[in-house]
């Protein structure tokens, strides 16, 4: 296993060589992975075809649960994206050097996760061909969208988040794409040359670029906190018991980062081995990511406890009943799955040996992924299913159309990520080089 070093020990030329080696001829394993994610996407597309052809009746919507797996999965994927922006933007502002080795992969994960999430409102609305009604323009009677609605806030938040995250990713890639351009030949040089947008690394280009990168990070930092807050308000602004809580914004933001870091583990642990990047993405980075997971896991633990406490302490019968049924009602298994996978499993990360054991981290990350999907499922489905009037109580059972779209979303995300890491540097070449002092003729600095 690679040693846990804080700073890279290679020379500039070695960094270029090692990162560009990941863009070499794809192996059979790569094609198997590509085929697998394409197959998963195909399942999603076939399911979507039937949803468009026949309507949402294929999905498991059962009154009063008219938001279910699609909205659950929407929130899941938006949350995944948050760890990427935290690592690429917030840790950049805090000058945390350990982010450098992992931020490109996490930022790409962010963009593809938000691209995946953005599909779900479209799937969920039923008449997908009029999805553009979500865009703020007046209807035939010149009536505009209701800007007081959290759902409209969400359209703005997700659109801005997607645009800014994509801009941040592409902007960060430009110097690295230029480095690729200068090392390859033939048609690849022409393609990377066009994508490099004339970048040559001049002092003038760096002068503007460095400042712009700082400001983009400064803008992305409050954005990432706002986006999942706005997503949480899709629920908290409603009066449904189990949703109407002031704790929701920080609770959702912490959960988003927790789930996102979980996905970072799931993606990066096998990827660093497959791409032979063990000397660049070391146990030092995973140790730090583990601490971040522990912190957000503890915030979640507190939020889970506080939700139950507030429900009891409020004296509100509806809140109390909802939370009682969340733990001991017909969906008890989902309620406990979320608490065990998120609040309890994270506590293992108090131990350094666990944080530095990549097999353990990978297993924990799978628990996190499952637990965080269930968290959203529980919040949405169990709250809607336990409305004010017991006569109206009901539960939904996911159908093949729910699972098909869920599987397809992993295929869609996986396809983009798999194509990305084989065509673009998955480790930020120029930022790693910035950390390595250039050789000096006159000795030490």
């Amino acid at each position: 296993m690679a040693s846990a070093t804080q700073h890279p020990t290679q020379t500039h030329a070695e960094v270029t060589r090692d990162v560009l080696a990941t863009l070499g001829t794809p192996t059979r394993g790569y094609y198997i992975l590509l085929g697998s994610v394409a197959a998963a996407l195909a399942v999603g597309l076939v399911t979507f075809f039937f949803l468009v052809k026949d309507g949402l009746g294929h999905a498991g919507y059962t009154p009063p649960v008219m938001w279910s797996v699609y909205i659950t999965t929407f929130v899941f994927w938006v949350g995944i994206g948050h760890a990427g922006t935290l690592i690429s933007a917030i840790l950049y502002l805090f000058r945390s050097p350990w982010r450098t080795a992992v931020y490109r992969a996490t930022e790409a994960m962010t963009v593809f996760a938000v691209m995946t999430a953005a599909l779900f409102p479209i799937v969920h609305i039923g008449r997908q061909w009029i999805f553009y009604w979500l865009i703020p323009y007046p209807n035939a009677r010149f009536l505009w969208p209701n800007f007081k609605s959290p759902l409209v806030w969400d359209v703005f938040a997700i659109t801005t988040y997607f645009t800014v995250s994509t801009t941040f990713l592409i902007f960060g890639l430009i110097p690295d794409v230029a480095a690729v351009r200068d090392k390859v030949s033939g048609w690849r040089q022409k393609v990377y040359g066009m994508l490099a947008l004339g970048w040559k690394g001049t002092d003038e280009q760096w002068r503007h670029y460095s400042r712009a990168y700082l400001y983009l990070a400064a803008l992305a930092t409050p954005l990432v906190l706002s986006v999942h807050s706005v997503v949480s308000w899709d629920f908290a602004m409603g009066i449904i018991p189990g949703w109407h809580g002031t704790i929701f914004a920080p609770y959702f933001v912490a959960g988003a980062i927790y789930s996102g870091v979980g996905m970072v583990f799931t993606l990066l642990i096998p990827l660093r081995k497959a791409l032979k990047l063990e000397h660049m993405i070391t146990t030092y980075h995973f140790d730090n990511l583990g601490k971040l997971t522990l912190l957000t896991g503890c915030i979640l633990f507190y939020a889970y406890g506080m939700e139950y406490f507030v429900a009891w302490y409020s004296g509100n019968m509806f809140e109390q009943t909802t939370f009682w049924r969340r733990a001991f009602g017909p969906m008890w298994w989902a309620g406990w799955a979320m608490i065990i996978c998120n609040a309890f499993v994270a506590q293992l990360l108090w131990f350094r040996k666990v944080r530095e054991n990549l097999t353990a981290l990978f297993v924990i990350s799978i628990f996190i992924n499952i637990g965080m999907w269930f968290e959203r499922y529980v919040i949405i489905v169990s709250s809607l299913g336990n409305d004010f009037d017991p006569w109206a109580w009901g539960l939904m059972n996911p159908t093949w159309a729910d699972w098909g779209i869920l599987l397809g979303s992993f295929g869609w995300f996986g396809l983009w990520f798999t194509l990305f890491f084989k065509h673009f540097p998955i480790v930020a070449i120029q930022e790693i080089k910035e950390m390595i002092p250039m050789p000096r003729r006159k000795g030490a600095h």
Binding site: H12, W144, K183
Partner: protein, 171 residues
């Protein structure tokens, strides 16, 4: 295919950062202030030697952000008042729920204007026609000194004296 006319001058390559800094200082002392320095990553020693001012990108960011806030406020107020519709007994137009839209548009416009600024400001000093070496995105620092052929000899000797690993003329 269009090919830019090359700028006459001298291109020096450096493997050591202190040599490059010495060369920049020496060239600037001799009046060569229109230098182009290539590097694989931003470097504070090079920036100090070049005595650059802070980039004007921040102005674009500020203007973009303020435009976004204003656009968010104007759009939400105007659309609400354009067809007043009472929903749930709440005010027709009010700031608190619109803060979200204003904030998101501030970030959106601010970010896009920041990136636009880099493109526009970089155009002020184009790189077309300037001598370049692909190793500058790898592990070397390059200094291109535009100068007339009669001054190229002096520049070459200065670059070599500073520790350049390679010097060549661009015509």
């Amino acid at each position: 295919m269009f090919k830019a006319k090359s700028v006459p001058g001298v291109l020096g390559s450096f493997a050591h950062i202190d040599s490059a800094v010495d060369a920049i200082k020496g060239l600037r002392a001799r009046g060569h202030t229109d230098l182009t320095v290539y590097s694989a990553a931003p470097n504070h020693e090079l920036e100090e030697a070049l005595e650059h001012k802070i980039s004007a990108v921040r102005l674009f960011t500020l203007v973009g952000g303020l435009t976004g806030v204003s656009a968010g406020l104007a759009m939400t107020y105007w659309t609400s008042l354009d067809w007043p519709l009472l929903v749930g007994g709440k005010p027709i137009a009010t700031v608190p729920p619109y803060v979200v839209i204003m904030f998101e548009l501030m970030v959106l416009f601010g970010a896009l204007s920041t990136v636009t600024a880099v493109a526009l400001l970089s155009l002020r000093k184009p790189t077309t026609g300037l001598a370049y070496d692909p190793r500058y995105t790898d592990d070397l620092v390059g200094i291109f000194v535009p100068c007339a052929p009669d001054r190229a000899g002096d520049v070459e000797s200065l670059l070599k004296q500073a520790g350049s690993v390679e010097v060549r003329r661009a015509a």
